[in-house]
């Protein structure tokens, strides 16, 4: 029998090729896009699942699971390399799950003939861009795929055509252009200094010279803009809040996670020598600020989807808080990734459920939503269940993530770091704030009063959020296997 790693190069190419092929196909036949889309989504998700399984088997069997594929036979430093490691596999799987759910949801959500033709190709390009982003092994490729993701995302935000959506999309576009430019300048600086673009080659030569510092500042700032990391988050709530429901779910669950993936990837690799305790503390304090500010905004917001969007700002604060922990406990980066995965699943489920409620009511003003919340128990239940994961309570992915974060935080305290107490308090207290804003959305369902089911909602829109929320909850069982996958990442502790 051939060892499992033998099939990995083929599978990597298959995932990349299939995602692109489906996107091209849907663009070429827009009339059939609504059929190509869901079928393609199933195919891509199945391939990613297969890839992850093989990767896991190879890693568990002690084989060389980390795979590099040179496209067209051109090796680095000249050619384009696809790079697969545990980090990439984890994000690919998260993307596949959320994307599949969003696709199935969209079957019910996007009815209009014209909208269908626009939505599916854009969405499939976005997904292809994400898959390629995770598989990219060199800095220029990362830039291209990042750009692909950003442009498709902007178009998706705008595509409902309402005034709010267009103005949200315009802001989003400006932010993205700015972010991409900064990132590209950083890439150019690195290339000028070292003459290579391949990340592995760059990491081997990485130092802490002036040009690296500048490149790090530019690229990080650009990506922070895209990932809506505090204090560069102001664009997020209008864009995520006004987009169509499946798009909001994709943006909050996947696109910002993709940008964060890059930040983490760069700082674990080429920029690792630049990280200092003072920088770590600064990032951590920004994280605490994000947690508090995002939560307060979520507590004040009047619209259902705005609450969820601000919650993304708050939840990403945890990721920043984890940064100083990583400097003391290098292994903590896996915790951060697991947290991002748990958040991606839960947040997408919350957005989808909120979308169903909004569709039923025709609006999402919380003050006037009582009767719908009472009449649509299933969606409220999905929202609540995924919300439990955001609060970090058992038995969900969020709980395991919170456990790991607390574990890392307390380890630093026990190692003698006084500021660690602040991180622990922030990590623990953030859950209470999350509970408060989740409760704002769920509690009206328990008030007495009339109940109304509102507009007819397709079964997809009723059951998909529930299914995804269940996945987010069951992610609590995926802790061990995810950490094991992540440990198969070369260059990171």
């Amino acid at each position: 029998m051939t060892p499992p790693e033998a099939s990995l190069p083929l599978l990597v190419s298959l995932v990349a090729g299939l995602s692109l092929a489906v996107a091209v196909l849907a663009t070429a036949w827009p009339r059939q896009a609504h059929r190509i889309g869901p079928l393609g989504a199933l195919a891509i998700a199945a391939t990613v699942g297969w890839l992850a399984r093989r990767f896991h088997q190879a890693g568990a069997g002690g084989g060389e699971a980390v795979t590099r594929v040179a496209l067209g036979g051109w090796e680095a430093p000249l050619g384009l390399m696809l790079h697969l490691d545990g980090f990439a596999v984890t994000l690919l799987v998260l993307t596949a799950i959320v994307a599949l759910a969003a696709s199935l949801y969209s079957i019910g959500y996007i009815h209009d003939r014209v909208e269908r033709r626009q939505f599916w190709p854009l969405w499939l390009w976005l997904w292809a861009g994400l898959n390629l982003l995770f598989l990219s092994g060199d800095a220029f490729n990362l830039y291209v795929t990042l750009e692909l993701v950003s442009l498709a995302a902007v178009a998706l935000v705008a595509f409902s055509g309402t005034a709010a959506a267009v103005s949200g999309a315009m802001r989003y576009l400006l932010v993205n252009i700015l972010g991409s430019l900064a990132f590209l300048m950083g890439v150019a600086l690195l290339f000028g200094e070292h003459g290579v673009l391949d990340l592995a080659a760059l990491q081997a030569q990485a130092g802490d010279g002036a040009s690296e510092r500048l490149a790090a500042a530019l690229m990080t700032a650009g990506l922070m803009l895209k990932a809506a990391l505090f204090p560069l988050h102001v664009w997020l709530a209008p864009a995520h809040g006004s987009a169509p429901a499946p798009v909001s779910a994709i943006l909050s669950g996947l696109v910002v996670t993709g940008a964060f993936y890059l930040v983490l990837r760069l700082w674990l690799g080429i920029f690792a020598p630049l990280a200092t305790p003072a920088l770590g503390m600064l990032v951590g304090l920004l994280g605490v600020a994000a947690l508090v500010w995002g939560s307060v905004q979520a507590l004040r917001a009047g619209r259902l989807k705005s609450i969820v969007a601000y919650s993304t700002v708050a939840q990403f604060g945890y990721l920043l808080v984890a940064f100083p922990l990583m400097l003391i406990e290098p292994g903590a980066w896996k915790v951060v990734v697991f947290f991002a995965v748990a958040h991606g699943l839960a947040k997408a489920a919350v957005f989808l459920a909120a979308g169903t409620l909004q569709h039923a009511a025709g609006h999402d003003r919380l003050a006037e939503l009582d009767d719908i919340l009472r009449g649509r128990g299933r969606s409220v239940f999905a929202l609540g269940l995924a919300g439990v994961s955001l609060m970090g309570l058992p038995f969900t992915g969020g709980f395991i993530a919170k456990y790991l974060l607390l574990d890392a935080g307390l380890s630093t305290v026990l190692a003698g770091s006084l500021i660690g107490v602040l991180w622990v308090v922030a990590i623990a207290g953030g859950g209470l704030l999350a509970a408060a804003y989740i409760l704002r959305m769920v509690a009206p369902a328990f008030h007495p009063g009339p109940q109304r089911a509102g507009a007819v909602v397709s079964p997809w829109m009723e059951w998909v959020p529930l299914g995804l929320a269940l996945v987010a909850a069951l992610a609590g069982l995926a802790g061990a296997v995810t950490l094991q996958l992540l440990s198969l990442t070369p260059g990171a502790a």
Binding site: G377, F381, V388, M391, L393, P394, F395, F399, I400, K402, Y403, L404, L406, D407, L410, S411, L414, V424, A428, G429, G431, L432, A435, L439, A443, F446, H447, P448, G449, G476, L477, G479, A480, L483, Q484
Partner: protein, 506 residues
Amino acid sequence: MNGDWLLLAILFSSLGPGVAIFFLPEHRHGLRTALNLGGAGIKLLLVGVLLLGVRRGEDYAFSLPLLPGIDLVLAADSLSLLFATLSAVLWFVTTVYAIGYLEGSPRRSRFFGFFSLCVSATVGIALSGNLITFLIFYEILTLATWPLVVHRGTPAALRAGRLYLAYTLTAGLVLFVAIVWLTLLAGAEGFTPGGFLDGLGATHGTSLQVLFVMLMLGFGVKAALVPLHSWLPIAMVAPAPVSALLHAVAVVKAGAFGIVRVVNDVYGAELALELGLTGGLLAVAAVTIIYGSVQALRADDLKQRLAFSTVSQVSYIVLGVALAGPLGVIGGLVHLVHQGITKITLFFCAGSFTETLGIHRTSELNGVGRRMPLTMLAFTLGGLGMIGLPPLAGFISKWHLGLGALEANYPIILGVLVLSSLLNAAYFLPPIIRGWLGERREPWPEPMHDHLRRTRLETHWMLLFPALFTAALSLLAGLVAGFGLSPLGWVTFIVEQDYAIPGFGP
């Protein structure tokens, strides 16, 4: 029989029907009742099988890796069986009562769904084999109870719900941090009779002291220790079956059970004494006992009086554990059961009075014994049991607690017990006397009259029989206390294992 299978089946016997009930349309009354009672019956049966197995000395364990080095562990030792059996029996009874109580009211599918979830979480707590697992089910219990507390949706209920969540979630976080910390120090050990921290006592004494305080804060909120108790009397706005669940079956019991686990099976009584931790706990328990009784005396609202009485009575369990001697622990643990069956009787009766005759206050109880003699009889047995009159269950608890206090050389605790019993008598005797001897001139409002036309009983049978059953249990638990499978016999069995004292008996 395979142990894993049995433990999981016990958990899923309420979880499965609970989930099914969520998706049941409101009008499927018959199917919902069948699912409810079927689940409760199967659970009772399975717990019985487990009980016999553990008695025979068989080991049951199930574990599932959550994270490297950290497992979700379900295990059945004699202590977990004590709590599991209590909740399985009382759940069955409470389900019957709840079906009768909520007949014809809206949103029963939601109610019974969360109700089953609650009991699943409680059984999970009982069967938890380590602190992480305990925490998981403990937090699920918090979340599953909230919809029940706010079920009626009135402003008072919503306020109670908010307060409940604010208290319990904050406590949950304190507990969470403490447990992660403890796991960092000592690893994710399973509960071990006598504790597993011995090796750390010398090196990490202060940490362990701080941790103990954090753990007690975490569990103390649910166990309603003063000053963390305020949510409990306010949560009494919930429907009577929920109060029964809060006060007797699940929530406060989960808190008290957590304290028992920490003192006995994490720290171990010896280490807790050595670190000087039990003294503080004892003082808090004593203050809570007196304070709760005084507040109960001042309350006129019947359910509020019962709620404050719970605050007081649950601390008997904590008191017994804090005495840290075999007799005290016997008294505390047996009170876990006795308080449960006695208090649930009282809440059933209070609920029946309210539903049948519209009685909310103790001052309205005049003459109720003539209209509802059987319910009043149950109430009387419950009240006298709480006071600790022999041969009722409460007497057995107080007797052992008293012996435990002498054994541990705390004669002042005897004073607390006597004072508390006097106060118990002061707030339970007046309603009993009013009920039997008081006179009522005007007719009763009878809000349930339309439902009761066809019955010759004093109220709906589903409200009456549960109360009679638990009242009989509380009488029985006292009368047959000498037998092996009585609560006292079982608790003695537990304590003999924990303390390993040869030839020791009550």
